[in-house]
Point group: C2
Chain length 152, copies 2
């Protein structure tokens, strides 16, 4: 049904710096982690105005995700007691295109450096895009999730 599936090329716009050199185990608590996102200095001006947002969406490349083949179905967070689930119904890093999407608090912007809280990326992760977090399009008040998420 899908005749042409195109290939696309990304160029990183920056890099994550936080001193976390190894991917922690699933379930690691990133909430309090402070990271710096160093944006390519040729793009500094493109950050102007971002400091007026309290939160931003970071798209980054999960470059150290397990390199084994992608499994179509997995136990979420590696927890065997959770049901075998299609990978697209989970947030596993081990996906066909290894893009992570995380909403973080923007603590500070200084030139081409963004200081953020709660980014679940390790040191050296390539950053692909920065978007402002806009509640009326990014949040859903009445969203429904399966029981295995409510219970965790």
């Amino acid at each position: 049904m899908v005749d042409e599936l195109p290939i696309m090329t990304l160029k990183a716009i920056g890099i994550v710096r936080n001193g976390i050199k190894q991917p922690p185990s699933a379930g690691y608590e990133w909430g309090e982690i402070i990271s710096e996102i160093v944006i390519d200095s040729s793009l500094t001006e493109a950050l102007d105005g971002l400091e007026e947002f309290s939160h931003i969406i970071v798209l980054y490349w999960m470059h150290r995700a397990a390199s084994r083949e992608v499994s179509l179905k997995i136990h979420p967070m590696g927890r065997k007691e959770l049901p075998l689930t299609g990978l697209f119904a989970t947030r596993t890093p081990n996906r066909p295109n290894r893009i992570g999407k995380t909403t973080v608090r923007l603590l500070q912007r200084q030139g081409n450096i963004l200081k953020v809280k709660g980014l679940d990326a390790i040191d050296g992760a390539p950053v692909i895009d920065i978007k402002p977090y806009i509640p009326h399009s990014d949040s859903v008040p009445d969203a429904k999730v399966p029981k295995w998420i409510s219970n965790r």
Copy 2:
């Protein structure tokens, strides 16, 4: 400060179908638009369990975004009365990596086809990733935005 900015390659996992052949003008109301996302049939099983979520996050390639050079600062939504703003503080499609991120309602999943409401992508847009929308990580109750957004 950034010594190495890697290049990455994406392969589409599917394609948007909605009959909208041309990019509408900025400010077009996509909220009621119904689209089908046709996922590559080799990945069908990876969608299992997605139907238990009311909303999903679609990452797609804005393949028809204006092909002119990326402007570092723009008037959001092309509205001259809004302040000149760094592109990363806006959701313009005209960005270094043309990835769109939209949260949509999942109406139905049938095999490898997802029927969704509110996707702001045109017909033929390559889909890069599907993630479940999980309120406790994807939504921020107290987010602050600049005045030009509150006022629109």
